[in-house]
Symmetry: T
Subunit: 145 residues, 12 copies
């Protein structure tokens, strides 16, 4: 199975428009296009979902569980309090790699704690759009067959 | 009025599939079937809702408020942070019994705090599917007419 | 631009029915009618949204960003934990005034902390329906053109 | 083995006399009579012990360990600090169900933490004398043979 | 009775001179002049006191208790520790509206806690001189006769 | 009723022998003799109990509840953790005055918190044997008939 | 020397008028009259000061240091934060007895901590005007010559 | 004087039966037999007490104070909250060596804090029955004459 | 401008009399005389103010703002809680050097936190009267023209 | 400049030997060989340093500052307390990517806090030797010229 | 294997010179001589290392791992923060016994927490040089062959 | 003895190069040259040591103990966690004055706590290179003979 779900959380649809000093990435559409290119190179079949809702994220995780090799997850603000997403990650057997565009450890206090990190395989933070690229590469190496 | 709402929160739709050491219960469908049987014995008319979303839980609570004698509520991960569900319980006059399949006091730290417990009538935790059965019996004895 | 969004969070649809000692305001419908009258006097064009869901609030904030001069926001229970709503406020350039009907500093401990306050322009709490009225007046003075 | 120990902690001998708004139950004698009736229905042989002392509770737990199928335990105020009782529960192989008459999560802060809950099978709180009734039913279903 | 006390705490006499990025308001004299104008429109008789001392604030509150309909109070730095002022507010039967020029929730940690807020009727913060204007309007609507 | 219970907790039987710099009082026997004299002057009938056990203290409080006008209580180390004694005080209708020989606020950190103080009528600490004498006088004035 | 200073802090001038459920004492004037009578009986020469200001309390303590045998001090709200008063007590050699009319341990959290208690000889709280009476008696016994 | 008290706290009578992974020691009886042998070698006269009650431990400590050279104390669960035992140790002049079979710093959080350690001469933990043997040797070297 | 304000807080007027082990300095008068001598050597024109009141300190800071090159400030106990003094320092453009006679980091816990330090230019503590001398020298070097 | 420093902290020299369940990586030598291969592919010139000492790490960071384009840093246990290493990272202008073999957020509490993360460009954790590989790739993309 | 490493941390080279009230032991040289004698009696071959550096301690632990049966470790101040030493202990399979000369639980707060204790076999504290002697005896009994 | 050790900790060798906004001082070499000049004026014989290692700092402190009158110590980042340096200061009888170039109370939270301050004679912070100059002057006045 060589499918991967790239799942983005709330407000990431505004990427490129919102706080350009913190999120200098291109728009989400452009980012996804770039990631689709990289996925193709890696022989991965990507699926892109962005949701502003916790329920939608929980269900995206549940639904992918028989379909994908791994998930690249940027939970946005849900990183810091959504135990429902944490439980969804734990409930499925699919490996999840947590990514963040900005360095969450260098911003407001509340951002330095991720409630999903303990149930993810790994975390990549602070490297801009490169965070996603690395997650695809790692997932390919470690979890895709 | 002898109606009861049995309301389950996020990820409980995966019951039986997810972490069998912690949740050894049967599937949610089987559990509900069994509870329907017990409800019939108790002369209760059960309604079953499972939702992965906070909004859906808030509205299930709001909507039942003129229709049921009591609610059996397993808020799943929302137990630990959903003040919106807490407010919904406080806002309706229907008694709510909080149930948990696992012993939430014997797991990760964050699970030992329930933000809804203070506004529920009571809490039953750790007894597997029996937690739900007891809640039906208690609700019948205390709140159903 | 003289449009304003009046955005109410979870359980505020039960206003007037719920806990009358804390929320002695009229029903939400009546409140909105009254606010519509005031808006007219202030030459503002009001839009009213109430949602029980976090996603709906995030998207209401995102969607209004090119349409309104300011937002009057009562996040209800989300006040205390929704970093997703906080991020939405930060992501848009529209000024937001936070309002609360009750004095959130005089109730349960968890209510005295607002996670959205640091990114709002200001906060008005404890003055019943007057809190909304003042927010309209302030928004007119400060943000509407 | 169908024996059950119903073990009540300090000040529960004053039940019915003490703080009737919090403990509206009948006297302990009446409660025990009622529970004895239910036990008979459930084909259980109950033993009733109330003690005001920690040592007496520790030893009641130790002594019952070869004699009963399960214990229904209301540790009273010891709930919140008696690690000696906790150790006694851990030391014996008999399953213990923790019960509370009042909703301990809705009272003073110190009452919301139970140091014995992590080593009990489950917890039932807030349902008045029904808490004990449910514990008997659950114990019968789960632990009695 | 249509009198109102507008009571400003320590260092507010330096308004306009001090930290113009945080306090862009005009001088206190100019502000008071503007508020006097608004008060006249609202048919309120304003009294203005600014004190740098806690004793002076306590006594201003005590002394106004038989004379004014409500108080508009900006306690300055006392907001964060003066339980003496809190007790004075509690001791008098006059309603008090707390105001702040800056958004106290978006500055240093210590500023996000107000020890007087729980005994005030309401709080208005972050809206510059408009905070005072709104307090006058609210007081007129709610507390003046 | 003019009876009073003077109830001393663990290790107070060693008074006069133990840490003379902190407890410069005479022996407990001598102290009790002196208090008996004062009681006689006040027309009070004193009863003296010292126990090293929590159970004994709980039961002394329970048992006196129909017999005495008030209790003078020095809980010794139990002051800092015995919620069982706290519950006993709350359960009886007899007023209790807490006394301490030493200034518990000027010693180790753990001694500065009394878990029984909130349910006692008052607290007298730091005045040596005078603490007991004052408690007798106060009890006579306030609670004895 | 048989002089005693009875020093009352902020808002105690409103005694009898303020929150009668918490402070059922008579007016300060009446209380002082009663205490003057008791002082006479005890052969003490009382001096009465009430101040709403911290500076006034610090200086009253400093100034009495060569004139009185002991001080009866009710610091009012300053109890909870005035390290300046604490330092004044430490700086003088006169023994100070802290008194409180209400049971400060049974009210809001912030009231349960006294920053002056560690440097006072003793503390008497919760016994209404009797708290003062006891302090006079204790001071006479322990510190007056 | 060459007497030594070996004092064991609650649930240690179950040694060998309880949690063999944590407490792999032999039964208490066997342990005591072995320690008696070592004591004889060291020319010490041992006395063995095990109690499940705090009162019994306090009194064992008090009573031994004129009879033994030192105490080997395993307070069991009381280690973590019994300030009454702490006070008893402080009140007697006999040196006390605290011992623990298991490594209390490597288990649940609450076990890593000993309230008696600050008043004991020393602490020996984690070395199984060897902990007791070492305490006898140390006591012989340091405290026995 | 070569003027300097040497501003001392509450209880420093008792210097030399109070706690000689902590404050071995001479009397304030003598200290000031010595500092006047040093100031003369440094070609500085000193002004000495000591106040026991917070208001007086706030106003001394405000008033000196157009007159002095720098302030040497020992806030006494206000160091630990006076946000009003902190705000005054921030409000004026005059540099302030905080000084302490004793080592505030080696005394009671509450003394190790200074709420004014973050807005002062620097802090000098623990060096007795030398602390003031150094502050004069530093102010001369850094801030006087 | 295409040089990169791969800097490993204390105990990483034992890789492969130590706790194979947590660190299933090959030996450090083998890992470095593999990374050298990848570096070559990426046209990077790698330098490998492992040190067990904080000083050596600080100086390795200082010394590389004029020589390398970026640093791949696994600080080992220093992650959690070495502010000296943090300061060294801040002091040099070379970008640093923090890597961890294991998921530091899923282990002991103390490991979930990195004191260096706030001054690194990004963090990659939990992906075994892949963490290092990704860091090389990211550094090449972002920082190498 | 009968070798043992006796490893002392920073500042223990000053033993006998430094703070004689806390460390009344002889000089380190004398102590080591005495321990060498005891080791000979126990048929153990001792090796003595004292280092003031963390790196040296980490490497002493790493290097001994194939050579000794057990380690007697006094980490000195590193006890309280060196996670690098903790990791070294965990990384080697040699059992380590932690010793302290003084009672670390009876001194400053920071000393009561040992970050290495959870990975040592046991801890012996407070018994002066006897702490080392006991560790040798225990190691001989438990770990040497 | 008129020798003084000026001891600088990690990363201070980069002074002048590193973060010029925080450390506007000249290079360490230049600073030392300037201090040497001042020392000569003060008739002090200075010794300059800068080390990036904790061991080196501990040993510099130990080694100077028979040679210098006082130490001027800037521990750099070790300020915040090196209990080994603290112990070294306590172990020697030489007085130590702690200095900091920047105002450590106005930067990141972790910098506001110094673990060495309680054992130093005094602390001088925030005055740039002047901090060192003052320490030399103070040491000359107070500790040099």
């Amino acid at each position: 199975m060589n499918k991967v779900l790239i799942l983005n959380g709330p407000n990431l649809n505004l990427l490129g428009e919102r706080q350009p000093d913190i999120y200098p990435a291109p728009s989400l559409e452009d980012l996804n296009k770039e990631l689709a290119g990289l996925a193709a190179e890696l022989d991965l079949e990507p699926e892109f979902i962005q949701c502003n809702g916790e329920k939608e994220m929980v269900e995206a995780l549940q639904n992918c569980r028989k379909r994908v090799s791994f998930v690249v997850l940027n939970p946005g603000a849900f990183t810091h309090y959504s135990y429902a997403i944490r439980d969804a990650i734990e409930a499925i057997s699919v490996p999840v790699i947590e990514v963040h565009i900005s360095n969450i450890f260098a911003r407001e206090d509340f951002r330095s704690k991720s409630v999903v990190a303990p149930v993810c395989k790994g975390t990549i933070a602070g490297l801009g759009k490169e965070s996603y690229r690395l997650a695809l590469i790692a997932g390919k190496d470690l979890f895709a067959s």
